[in-house]
């Protein structure tokens, strides 16, 4: 479980080829070990048939109304519901930094986001490796992408029993807590696994963080 520094830099607005100055470098060198100690990555997933009714998509009885998701899952007869978290320890570390060292907090935030993504990539790779030959996985598609509403997050957590199994909860406003967490739909379809670059599937062309 290691932090991909290049990814963290991207979250901080560094474009490809730009490197941090020595002061920022020192902050990274302090943050990364602290983060790796505090993080406890847990994930859970379950596989369900994808049921299409007209324009709607139903997975595990959840009505995932989203045209973007529908397009993304074209050709998929099944999909995984996936949830993961870096755990409460990271939130606590964030709190400490936010109160005492704001530059470090910002760097920690970026590193945690990068760490979460790479841990999820690893977990997704394990799922892919266990698939029957000839099947592959689509990139993760999370609530909040396109027109897939955040309001389905409580349902996903319930289906996965995420509270009990990995300590992942939702607030009254459908936000995940601990905060460094994700839920996602991962489509299964014939063919090789797709390269996991979510930006290609996203409609926000003018996003500052869009991967080139």
């Amino acid at each position: 479980m290691q932090v991909d520094k290049a990814e963290a830099l991207r979250y901080l607005g560094y474009k490809r080829g730009q490197t941090p100055d020595s002061a920022t470098e020192s902050v990274f060198n302090a943050c990364i070990p602290a983060l790796e100690r505090a993080a406890g990555f847990l994930n859970i997933d379950r596989r369900f048939p994808v049921i299409r009714e007209g324009d709607g998509i139903f997975i595990a009885g959840l009505n995932l109304q989203s045209r973007a998701l529908s397009r993304h899952l074209e050709g998929c007869e099944e999909a995984y519901l996936f949830a993961a978290t870096l755990g409460a320890g990271v939130d606590r570390l964030m709190q400490v930094y936010e109160r005492t060292d704001l530059p470090a907090a910002v760097v920690l935030q970026a590193c945690a986001a990068a760490l979460l993504e790479s841990c999820c990539d690893e977990a997704q790779d394990s799922i892919a490796a266990a698939l029957a030959p000839g099947l592959g996985l689509r990139p993760r598609f999370s609530p909040g992408y396109g027109d897939l509403s955040l309001t389905i997050q409580p349902g996903i957590l319930r289906v996965l029993d995420a509270q009990k199994r990995i300590g992942l909860f939702c607030t009254a406003h459908d936000m995940l807590t601990p905060t460094k967490s994700i839920t996602a739909v991962i489509g299964v379809r014939p063919g090789c696994a797709d390269k996991k670059r979510g930006c290609e599937t996203c409609g926000m062309k003018d996003c500052t963080y869009r991967k080139e």
Partner: protein
């Protein structure tokens, strides 16, 4: 036969899983199991009966999700569901022909929400949710309360408090550990046991998460630390997905064999959780029924805890940090008056880093609302530090408030020999749990002899016992009076300490620093007295961990007292250090050849402060001529994309350090801010780093920021706007779901506090959307908000 009487004599057997049995009976996915007690009474009663016929003693009611939060949308209230569930259990008990003793336990599962500050459920709201259902369950005739599947000590405390406040029934509590022996939110069994025993539950243990083999691994440790009977309710193994269903692989025979091992290992209450069936319970009972129960031994250890850690007062002297106490600390006084919680947190974290094991917290300052401030400090500190807290006040109301919100078992500072004080404090210690510091002073004052102080200590211990507070939960403080007011003062204290330890066998503490009050070079006197006190057997020392001489005395004395095998701790701390007065030892960080501007641009905090201190110009001249241009340059570089956020913030920190130095030299009017800005992260949003960045920059650019924090309701923003009359309010929201709160807040401001501009920010927003919801400005990055504030205030 009463539950507690049986528990003291025999092992007892819990039932198995309810959820899977209901599914087998037709419960649909997404349907509330708890509601079935009302809508499918026969099915629920039948499941209880199956477990009773299998031989179990305790049926847990079908109320795992019986809170208002989990029942929302079902059309049923917790009261209705609780009453029905208990009725079903009682009916099954009445019908069952088995000869075993039978009890209906009202089952309490988690609320489904994470408690603040990690999540959005307030502690008191959690207590309310639990109280509603537990009260109904108790009234409906439950024999005991069974709290289970807790993965957070804070929620666990809320549930136990609710049970204790709603009824007088016995309380059992089990938590869920992962394979490393930790709760999902970070606690360990030491923290759990300390908390639960402090709250006076009747039995405790583990359930769910693990199979019998994995769970039994934790039994020896549990048995070693707890004085209570141990409950084990494992799953039927670890879960596995098969054809879209969750299956458990441990069958009844294997389950029973493993649980027999647990019984022989001293587990007193045994049952099953997910994946277990009446067949599992039947096999379990048959295998374990005749195993003679091991005695439950009382432990005499003195322990306190936080959410994640327990500190035992044994084998060494516990170091308690004294710095969060306004007496004699003017900077802290200022912070408390201004509500500057961040300053308090930084002090606490500095003490932790310097080696404190417990943090003292005191807000005793005239002119502030001590109860509110103390409670807030406790709540905030426990969110950032793992260390247990020592809660210090003379006001019983402040105690109630602070003890209630504390996530763990604290040190309670203090009680003394006065009747009225003991009568006020002991009931609180009994209810909320804690180790109580007992001061040897009473209505007659402070005894001048060691024997006199011993007598008061005896009196206090005797009174404490009347409240069920045992000696192990008391720390006697024989009172440290300054040597400057009496030559014999130190000797009396030390004699009293030794006497009290020898004759009463109780642990001791001292506010060591008091010895040097009124003297020059206080640290030296304090350090020496600390050494003497450690030799006399002091168990807990309240000192300043940032004081070099005191800490040197602390560590060297430990080694000299034989508590540091092969001087390992001493060497770890001091090896490779030159003596303090050799020139090479401590190179002061000099400013070198830097200008103040350069120090700010490079984010060099200490150099910036040093340069500001040395600068010859007037403070305003330095600010206008050096600091502001540097910040503007940094800001412009950030906007141009050549400087990045961490650098911007490090420059801000450096500028702030320079300001702090100059502040002392400025008059009130010179130091006056350019204007006031109220900031808040809107209701429902728990992400506030963006708002904190804007705050740091605004303060740098000479604005006064009123920070309302996160998850702020519209009414609070309006109230702040009316009180502070800012020309500018800034709102942040991160997610699409909380942008609605932003819209509501803007509407409320327009209606009730018009006349201020509103700027908004947050990843999800766009300039377009900001305009639609009525904002005046959309800050796309950190500097944009500063530019707008400057514009609004005509800068």
């Amino acid at each position: 036969m009463r539950f507690l009487d049986v528990l003291s004599r025999e092992p007892l057997f819990y039932d198995g899983a309810m959820g899977t049995m209901l599914q087998a009976a037709g419960l649909l996915p997404g349907e509330s199991p708890d509601v079935w007690s009302v809508t499918h009474p026969d099915a629920v009663r039948d499941i209880h009966l199956q477990y009773l016929d299998a031989g179990c003693n305790i049926v847990t009611t079908n109320t795992f999700g019986c809170t208002a939060s989990k029942l929302a949308g079902t059309g049923f209230t917790p009261g209705e569901v609780a009453a029905a569930a208990v009725a079903r259990a009682r009916e099954a008990i009445a019908v069952c022909g088995g000869a075993q003793k039978k009890f209906a336990a009202f089952d309490v599962g988690p609320t489904g929400k994470l408690l603040k500050p990690l999540g959005d459920l307030a502690f008191e709201d959690a207590v309310r949710l639990f109280t509603e259902s537990i009260r109904a369950g108790a009234q409906a005739g439950a024999d005991l309360i069974h709290i289970e599947t807790m993965s957070d000590t804070y929620e666990l405390k809320a549930a136990v408090l609710a049970a204790k406040e709603s009824c007088a029934l016995p309380v059992c509590a089990t938590v869920t550990l992962d394979q490393n022996g930790r709760l999902l939110t970070g606690g360990d069994i030491h923290a759990v046991v300390a908390l639960l025993e402090g709250l006076r539950v009747d039995a405790l243990g583990l359930n769910c998460g693990l199979g019998p083999k994995e769970m039994i691994k934790f039994l020896p440790a549990l048995r070693e630390i707890t004085s209570l009977p141990v409950i084990l309710n494992p799953n039927a193994g670890l879960p596995r997905e098969e054809n879209g269903k969750t299956v458990f692989d441990v069958g009844p025979a294997e389950f029973a064999e493993l649980m027999a091992e647990a019984a022989r290992g001293g587990a007193r209450l045994l049952g099953g959780c997910c994946g277990t069936t009446p067949a599992h319970i039947k096999a379990l009972v048959a295998a374990c029924r005749d195993i003679p129960p091991l005695p439950v031994e009382k432990k005499e250890r003195t322990v306190v805890s936080s959410y994640g850690r327990a500190v035992y007062f044994e084998g060494h002297t516990v170091l308690v940090g004294e710095r969060i106490n306004p007496t004699g600390r003017s900077r802290l006084k200022q912070a408390l008056r201004e509500g500057d919680v961040d300053y308090v947190l930084r002090e606490g974290l500095a003490e932790e880093e310097a080696g404190a094991e417990i943090l003292g917290v005191n807000a005793g300052l005239p002119g502030i609302d001590e109860s509110a401030v103390l409670t807030r400090m406790v709540a905030e500190l426990q969110g950032v530090t793992k260390l247990p807290l020592q809660i210090d006040t003379a006001d019983p109301n402040a105690f109630v408030s602070a003890l209630r919100v504390y996530n763990g078992k604290p040190v309670i500072n203090s009680v003394n020999g006065r009747e009225d004080v003991m009568r006020a404090v002991f009931p609180l210690a009994a209810k909320y749990g804690g180790v109580v510091i007992a001061l040897t002073i009473d209505e007659a004052g402070i005894p001048e002899t060691a024997r006199g102080r011993l007598a008061i200590a005896k009196k206090i211990l005797a009174r404490a016992a009347e409240y069920g507070i045992e000696k192990k939960n008391i720390l006697v403080d024989a009172l440290t009076l300054t040597v400057s007011a009496g030559d014999r003062n130190p000797a009396v204290t030390l004699e009293a300490l030794s006497l009290i330890k020898k004759e009463l066998g109780v642990k001791t503490t001292l506010g060591v620093s008091n010895i040097s009050f009124g003297l020059p070079r206080r640290e030296l006197m304090t350090a020496s007295f600390l050494t003497l006190a450690l030799y006399a057997g002091l168990d807990s020392a309240i000192i300043n961990p940032l004081s070099q001489p005191v800490m040197d005395a602390f560590f060297t004395a430990h080694t000299l007292l034989g508590r540091d095998a092969q001087c390992a701790a001493y060497l770890a701390r001091y090896a490779g250090q030159a003596a303090p007065d050799t020139p090479a030892a401590s190179p002061a960080p000099g400013p070198g050849n830097l200008t103040l501007e350069q120090a700010i641009r490079q984010g060099l905090k200490r150099q910036a402060a040093a340069l500001a201190a040395d600068a010859k110009d007037s403070p305003l001249g330095i600010i206008e001529g050096n600091i502001v241009p540097a910040l503007n340059a940094v800001g412009a570089a950030f906007e141009a994309g050549t400087f990045f956020l961490p650098q911007l913030l490090m420059s801000a920190d450096a500028a702030k350090a320079a300001f702090e130095v100059l502040r002392g030299r400025m008059t009130a009017s010179e130091g006056a801010p350019l204007g006031c800005v109220v900031l808040a992260t809107v209701e429902g949003d728990v992400h506030d780093i963006g708002k904190n960045i804007v705050k740091a920059l605004l303060e740098n650019f000479r604005f006064q920021v009123v920070d309302l924090g996160r998850d702020v309701p519209p009414s609070a923003v309006v109230e702040a706007a009316l009180r502070h009359k800012p020309r500018l309010v800034g709102l942040s929201a991160l997610m699409t779901t909380t942008v609605a709160s932003m819209e509501k807040t803007i509407a409320a401001l327009h209606r009730d506090a018009p006349g201020c501009k509103i700027m908004v920010g947050g990843a999800v927003l766009t300039a377009d959307y900001a305009q639609r919801i009525g904002a005046d400005f959309y800050g796309r990055d950190a500097m944009a908000s500063v530019r707008y504030a400057q514009e609004v205030y005509g800068g």
